[in-house]
Subunit: 443 residues, 2 copies
């Protein structure tokens, strides 16, 4: 009988294995995709794309035992050759090819020049050729940065005693919102796609005290902007036994500090490829919503049109203000007006026009909304009634409160937006593998 | 100006902090939910539920400075008291209460006796009262086991050079399947919910070589069984440059070994609560599909009705066979018939009736489907044609192959099923926070 006993050991090497070993002058086997071929006549550079980066392989007429014409760009190959030091090659080494075998071949020539350092093409073209455009080294590096953000979020929260949860994305009714919800038929019953795990994560605070989820959310908003998506990955956490909503902002600050450090230590290669300058997250300034509006109005000579809302332009100026005044890339804007927050937001007992809530702006763009929630059953019922809402469809949610809930709060972070701002992109679609927007449902 | 500088340090302690410190005789502050109160007259035990477990706090008339009647079950409280050794208490200590303050109170008495060790109620009642039933210590422990499985999957795959991806759940068309797909309207266009990240993860193999995703999938199957859900969490990976589909089975074996070890080292508490005996994953037997049917037919005197399909009863007997013959809880069943596999499955060149694919059975239940995929563009087109399918809606998927793809394969694991089998539950809803099935859309 045959048995599986664990990961198969391979005799083909990755870049890090060659760098770690003392392999100069040694014969190795490597596999990869032919990223580009530079034919200089008697010598040719066959650059392989591997998961850890590019690797220069050298064909020499008379030495390498194959015909260069048999190797096509975008083929995948196995190369056998000798490792040599070469300062001008990626990672400081090259492989002088003895033999090559073709593992697979493309059917057509590439539609985009992915081997150029910077893909010289429109966002539309990149998205329309997603399977190909992401093979560009800079394009794919963006999604390693995104990986680091998610990894940082989870690892940090595990460390802080949070439990990971998985809540359903198909639900019975959109208690929280109205028009901005995708509807579907679920075995002859009306159903919706969840726009947030809000209700579920709150219910789970009563179980695990601290919970998080990293999962897709769905918003049927008819925005067609550079910062909106109709499906995105939301990094959510919710924590019980807080003293104030500042505990949540402090926890988010801890996450950012952890993640910036993770990027520095484990993603230095991608930071370098994308020339990312990491933001300073040692201390993040906090400002009240009304004060922020006032400051921006005064400094930039701008009239306050609506005292209860922040326009995107104002967000941008708040970011600019704190960059200029204290060199900060991030700023917590606190105490949002009650009328702009959902019913479950805890009003400020000192002035119920405002809530114990916040947004986090990063380079002038909102990447997080969070705050303290109402935990008292009666207070929740009163707020629902005061808003002219009904409790229909909220029985399960409300039952968590009826049977006791600790003081708690939490937040949601838009992963693609945070990645966009970290990298310094102008459009959130640049940092989304397969974006969904008003016009885009494919690929 | 106020600044956030990182996680707020608290003067309230968690169970592990009390166990780690030398705190006997010291005064501490703790917070938690009142799990149960046992009133013995002059003494009462107020057991707190905290995220790390239960903590016994002791009220003594004349010593504790409050009236016991003011403390209700399901309230959340802050206790100040002195740590004392007490072998009969959970974790071997108790807190002798000096003062208590109420953080929140329930509005009604509990509908379920969650403080019983084993919730003595039906699955229906548990699901109907999910926010409350999960507060039972055994019920919530199941989802820590589930957390370990997901954590193990990710950590192991990161270590093996995989990149985490996030692919869209709303798509344009169900190229892979037909009737079993949820449909929705997407800004006046027909759309579907993805039943698998299959196409996307394959496309990403051309970019990152190795990718994984942990995300919800949606299946509109009209099964009403103990092992089917209409929404579940799928652990997916896909890897390039494989030598054969056995590389995938070997990688899954590595994941199981890693996760069993993670459970032993970091989740011992939950293993103990649930009395879980971990399976042996040192070696996992492999058997061909046709041989497995033959063996089971002979040993259990059972006629083979359909040579191209496995009935649930047969799966169960295959599990039983390998448990009896070699003490194995897991078995890889390989070479499934081509007609039972999707078009992208690689047929076995030795006999095209079968594929280079596998299922993994755990205690007689399928928890994984995987295999090698076709990587050659023309072979893929031929297979599509041979099946009488069209390439409509598959342009983006096919373009990945047109422009070159390495030999590759992958798998998908049903998280809730794997958790169910690990714990030894009979119904997959027991290991799903908020199950979605034919009749259940709430909570």
């Amino acid at each position: 009988m045959e048995f599986m006993t664990g990961v198969n050991q391979k005799d083909t090497l990755e870049i890090s294995e060659i760098l770690a070993g003392d392999l100069e002058g040694k014969t190795v086997k490597v596999r990869g995709a032919v990223h580009t071929i530079r034919d200089m006549g008697d010598v040719a550079f066959i650059v392989l794309r591997k998961r850890e980066g590019l690797m220069q392989c050298v064909y020499e007429a008379g030495v390498s035992a194959f015909d260069l014409k048999d190797v096509k760009e975008a083929a995948t190959v196995e190369v056998k050759g000798v490792v040599g030091k070469e300062d001008r090659a990626p990672n400081g080494f090259e492989v002088r090819i003895q033999t090559i075998s073709i593992l697979s071949e493309p059917a057509e020539a590439m539609p985009l020049q992915i081997s150029k350092w910077k893909l010289n093409t429109s966002l539309e073209a990149k998205l329309n050729n997603r399977a190909v455009s992401l093979r560009n080294v800079r394009e794919r590096a963006k999604f390693k940065i995104q990986e680091a953000v998610v990894k940082g979020f989870r690892d940090f929260l595990y460390k802080e005693g949070f439990t990971e949860i998985h809540t359903p994305k198909i639900g019975a009714k959109g208690a929280e919102g109205g028009a901005n919800i995708f509807k579907l038929e679920y075995f002859h019953r009306p159903a919706i796609l969840e726009q947030s795990p809000q209700f579920y994560k709150q219910m789970m605070v009563g179980v695990f005290d601290r919970v998080f989820e990293t999962a897709p959310v769905f918003r049927a908003e008819k925005h067609n902007t550079k910062r909106h998506l109709n499906e995105y990955t939301s990094l959510d956490f919710e924590m019980g036994y807080i003293d104030s909503f500042e505990d949540i902002m402090a926890m988010e600050t801890g996450f950012l500090q952890y993640t910036v450090n993770l990027l520095k230590t484990e993603y230095a290669k991608e930071l370098n490829i994308l020339k990312i300058e990491l933001p300073n997250v040692d201390q993040i300034p906090c400002v009240r919503f009304d004060e922020a509006k006032q400051k921006v109005s005064e400094k930039y000579n701008r009239q306050i049109r609506n005292p209860y809302d922040l326009e995107p332009e104002e967000e941008h100026l708040i970011g600019q203000y704190f960059k200029e005044e204290c060199g900060a890339d991030f700023v917590f804007v606190t105490h949002y007006p009650s009328k702009k927050r959902p019913f479950y937001a805890m009003d400020d007992p000192a002035d119920e026009t405002y809530t114990l809530s916040f947004d986090l702006l990063f380079k002038g763009m909102e990447i997080t909304t969070g705050g303290q929630r109402i935990h008292d059953y009666q207070m929740l019922l009163d707020k629902i009634e005061k808003r002219g809402m009904t409790t229909e469809g909220m029985d399960h949610y409300l039952s968590a409160f009826k049977f006791g809930m600790p003081p708690h709060g939490g937040l949601g972070i838009g992963l693609e937006r945070l990645t966009m701002q970290l990298i310094g992109e102008e459009n959130v679609r640049e940092t989304t593998l397969f974006p969904r927007d008003l016009s885009r449902l494919e690929p």
